[in-house]
Symmetry: C2
C-alpha cells in the first residue's frame, strides 16, 4: 500500500539493494516463526547506522508509514508482523561491538549484535554478557522484549543489565537515554521505559550493557526427582538460602523425553533440575555441598556431574534447544509457548496445575522452567491449520495465565506481549494501568507508526 510513497522512492534511490520489496525478503520479515499470524511489510530496509535509521524513520513519519524494527526474528509473541504494512527496518547489519571496557565492566554495541557474537568478542578480555534469550537473538531485540533466560537467577534480566540506549524516536529524532555511570538518579528512567517497549516507542540502535568477569570455575550437575513438586521445592530452597547459583533449570518428564530424542541425550525420564555453579573454586565447592543437601532432602535421585566442558556444553545446548525439541515432536509443528512468572512460593502449585492441563490434550507439549525466578513455559507444538486444536491450546494457555494472575504473577516473564498476549495484559494490569501505558505511547508516537498493533490495541491512527 505504500509502494508508491515518496519515502520509499527516496530510500530505494539512496540505498539501492539495501531497500527491497522482494517477495521472499518480505515473507522473511513477516514475523512468522511461532503460531501467530504473520503479516508482510511493504518493504524492508537493511540499515547500517543510527543515522540511516533516523533518516528512514523521518521519511516514513512524514507520510505516516508504519515502521517495524527487525533484529533476528526470534521473538515468540508475534512482535514482528507488519500488521499495517509499512517498512521493516532490519538492523542485523548493525553488528559491530563499538567498545568494551574491562575496567568498567561495560560495552556498547550496535543493536544487531547477537549475544553469541558479543561473547565471542569478549572472551579474550575474560568478560561475558550473561543474559541468554533465544539462540541467535540480537541484543537490540533482547532489550525490546525485556528478555532474560537461564542466567537471570544470578545476573538479572535485560532490565537490570542495560545502562543506556541510543533510540530513534517516532519523528526521527535521536536520543541517548543514559551515560556510562553504573547508577543514576538523573531524571526519568528512559532506559527502563524503552526496555520492554517492543518497538512501540522508538527504534533501539545502540545498547550499553553491563559485563561480568568470566567466573574462575564452573560446574554443571543434573538430578532427577520423584515428582515435579520436589524439584521445584529444591529450587526454592536454594534461592531462599541465598546460594548464588548461576543457573537452575527445570525440565519436566515430557521435556526430558523430547530433549533426549532431539539432542541425542540419555537423561533418566524424571522431572529434572539442571544446575550450574560458578565462582571461585572454594565458593563453588560450598555451593555444591549446600545444594546436594537440599536436593537430597527432597528425594533427589542421584546427582550426575558434567564436569568436562564438552559434556556441559552439550547439556546446555540441549536445554537451549528445548523449544525446538518440543516443536519437532510433530512434523510441521509451530511453537506456542506460555510464559507465566509467579512468586516462587506458588510455583509448585502453578506447575502442577499446568501439568494437569497438559494431560487433557493430545497436542505434544512439555514444561520448562527458569524456576529460580518463578518463570516457566508450557510449550505446545501446534498446527495453525486446525482451528479446533488452536482453540484448545488457547484455552489451556488461558487457564495457565489465569492461575498465575490469581497468585500475583504475570502473563509474561520474558517473551513480551506482541500480538499474542494483548488480552492477557489487560487482565493483568487493569484498565487504568493500560490507559497510562497508552498515554505514554501517544505522547511519544502520536500517529501510531511504531510497531502498531503490538502490546495493546492502540485503536485507529489519529
Amino acid at each position: 500500500m505504500h509502494e508508491r510513497s515518496k519515502a520509499f522512492s527516496e530510500l530505494r534511490e539512496r540505498f539501492k539493494d539495501r531497500f527491497t520489496t522482494d517477495a521472499a525478503t518480505l515473507i522473511a520479515h513477516a514475523g512468522g516463526k511461532a503460531h501467530h499470524t504473520p503479516a508482510n511489510p511493504d518493504a524492508v530496509f537493511f540499515a547500517e547506522s543510527t543515522e540511516e535509521v533516523a533518516l528512514a524513520v523521518s521519511l516514513c513519519a512524514r507520510e505516516r508509514i508504519p515502521l517495524v524494527a527487525f533484529g533476528a526474528g526470534t521473538s515468540l509473541e508475534g512482535q514482528l508482523s507488519a500488521q499495517r504494512g509499512g517498512l521493516s527496518i532490519d538492523l542485523s547489519r548493525m553488528n559491530r561491538v563499538l567498545r568494551a571496557s574491562a575496567s568498567d565492566l561495560d560495552c556498547t554495541v550496535q543493536a544487531g549484535v547477537t549475544r553469541e557474537d558479543l561473547n565471542q568478542a569478549l572472551i579474550a578480555e575474560g568478560l561475558f554478557f550473561p543474559i541468554d534469550a533465544g539462540v541467535g537473538a540480537t541484543l537490540g531485540g533482547m532489550v525490546a522484549t525485556r528478555a532474560s533466560g537461564t542466567n537471570a537467577v544470578r545476573y538479572g534480566t535485560m532490565r537490570e543489565n542495560v545502562l543506556a540506549l541510543t533510540v530513534v524516536l517516532a519523528d526521527g529524532r535521536v536520543i541517548k537515554t543514559g551515560g556510562r555511570a553504573r547508577k543514576s538518579a538523573a531524571g526519568y528512567d528512559l532506559t527502563r521505559l524503552l526496555v520492554g517497549s517492543e518497538g512501540t516507542l522508538g527504534i533501539i540502535t545502540e545498547v550499553t550493557l553491563r559485563l561480568y568477569a568470566i567466573p574462575e570455575t564452573s560446574s554443571v550437575a543434573v538430578c532427577g526427582f520423584p515428582c515435579v513438586g520436589d524439584a521445584v521445592d529444591t529450587a526454592i530452597a536454594v534461592v531462599q538460602q541465598g546460594v548464588p547459583i548461576a543457573r537452575m533449570e527445570l525440565m519436566d518428564r515430557r521435556l526430558v523425553q523430547a530433549v533426549n530424542a532431539y539432542s541425542g541425550l540419555s537423561l533418566a525420564m524424571r522431572d529434572t533440575l539442571v544446575f550450574e555453579f560458578a565462582g571461585s573454586a572454594a565458593a563453588v565447592a560450598e555451593q555444591i555441598e549446600k545444594v546436594e543437601l537440599i536436593a537430597a532432602a527432597q528425594g533427589a535421585v542421584g546427582f550426575e556431574w558434567a564436569s568436562e566442558i564438552e559434556a556441559r556444553e552439550r547439556l546446555w545446548a540441549a536445554r537451549k534447544d528445548a523449544f525446538y525439541a518440543i516443536v519437532a515432536q510433530r512434523p510441521g509443528g509451530r511453537g506456542w509457548s506460555s510464559d507465566v512468572c509467579v512468586p516462587v512460593s506458588r510455583l509448585s502449585e502453578c506447575i502442577l496445575h499446568a501439568q494437569a492441563a497438559l494431560d487433557t490434550t493430545q497436542v505434544p507439549a512439555a514444561i520448562l522452567g527458569h524456576v529460580g525466578d518463578g518463570n516457566f513455559h508450557a510449550v505446545f507444538s501446534v498446527d495453525p491449520a486446525r482451528p479446533e486444536e488452536m482453540a484448545e491450546v488457547a484455552r489451556i494457555n488461558s487457564e495457565i495465565v489465569d492461575k498465575a494472575l490469581s497468585v500475583g504473577g504475570t502473563c509474561s516473564g520474558e517473551h513480551g506481549i506482541g500480538t499474542g498476549k494483548i488480552g492477557y495484559l489487560k487482565r493483568e494490569c487493569g484498565e487504568e494501568a493500560i490507559d497510562v501505558m497508552l498515554a505514554l505511547k501517544r505522547a511519544l508516537d502520536p500517529f501510531e507508526l511504531m510497531n502498531p498493533g503490538k502490546v495493546f490495541d492502540a485503536g485507529d491512527p489519529r
Copy 2:
C-alpha cells in the same frame, strides 16, 4: 493562595486536625533541610491510606491545586519545597508493613515506612532490605528519588529492588504498576518510570520490595592509603575481580577529620576505605584474603578489623552521619552535596579533580564515596546568607559536574534532581531527551500539579 478552596474546606471538614494550616507545620513541610530555598505549602494533610491520598488528589485536581508528597523530609535536592504553594500530603502515618514473605523474599509496605523500621520488623524472619539512603528516609521517598547508598555495590539501587508500586495519579486514579513476580516482560515498565520520578508523575503510596536473607556472617575492616588514588584503585580492582563485597566506602582525609570530631572516633588521618564483607564463613574468608592482597599492592597502611558488633555499628553509624559531620564543622551551616557518578575507570581522576577544587575554598568540605559504583559526594557546609560563598560553591560544584559529564558520568548518582540540579540535567541529557521526559510528564500530569518546578522547569501551567 488556596486557603479558601472547596478542596481545602472539604479536607478540613472530613479529616479535622489531620488537615492543617498551622504555621510551624507548614514550615516543617517547606523542604528546607539542605541549602535550597524552602517554600511553604498552603496546607498539610496527614494521609493514612491510599484511598485518602486519592481523595485529596482528586479534590485538589479539580481546582488545579498543586501537590507535593512528603515522607521524612530527608531529600537533598530541594524536592519538597512547595514552589507554587498547594497541598503537602504527608505520608509518614502510612507506616505499616503490609506483608512480608520469607519464601518469596519480598514484602509490601506503605510508603511512609522507614528502612530502619522495616528492618526491625524483618529481623525475626532472618531477612533484611539492604538499600540505605539517608537516616530516617521513608521507602516511598527512596523510591521517588531512586536512592541507593552504601550497599548498592552488592545489592543494586532502588531501581533494581522495587517490584511494584501503588500510585495515585494526577487525577486521583489509582494504579498498581506490577505484581509479585520477580521478573516480568508484560507491557511498559511503569514501576521503573515511577522510580526516580520525584513525585512529578504521581504519588507513591505502597511499595513491593525485594528482600534478602541476612548473611550468615559479616566482618568490617578499615584501612588507610598513601593517597586517594591508591584507595580508589583498590576499590576498582575489588570490583573488577568480581569480589562480592557488601560495602566499600571512601572517606577522604578531610572527612576522617570531621568524622573523628563528630562521632568520637580516632581513625588515622589518611584517605581511607571502609569495607564490609558478608556471606558464608568460607566466602567471607576468601573475600578478605583477596581484598587484603589487592589493598597491600596499592600501599595500604594496615588493616584494622572491627569484628565486634559494637565497633562495627559505631563505625557504620559514623559513616552514615558523615554528611552531618561535615555540616557541623561550622555553626549554623547547611549541607550542599554534589552527587556525581562516573565510570570507575575515571573515578580517581574525578576525585583528584574534586579535591583540587576543594583546595581553592575556605568553605568546610570533604569527600565521601560509594566508590564501588563510581559515585562520590563533595559535601560543603555553607551559609546561605552569604551570596559570594554560595556562588563560589556553585562554581566548584559545576566544575565537578562538568568533569563527570566529560567522562560519560551523571550529575546525580542517587540524590535526584529536585530544584538543585535542573540545569545540570539539561546539560547531561540534551534537549531532545528532556523533551521526551516533558512529553511523558504532560501525558500523565497535563495541568502540572504534581510537585511542580522539580526535575525540570516545566513552564507555566496549562
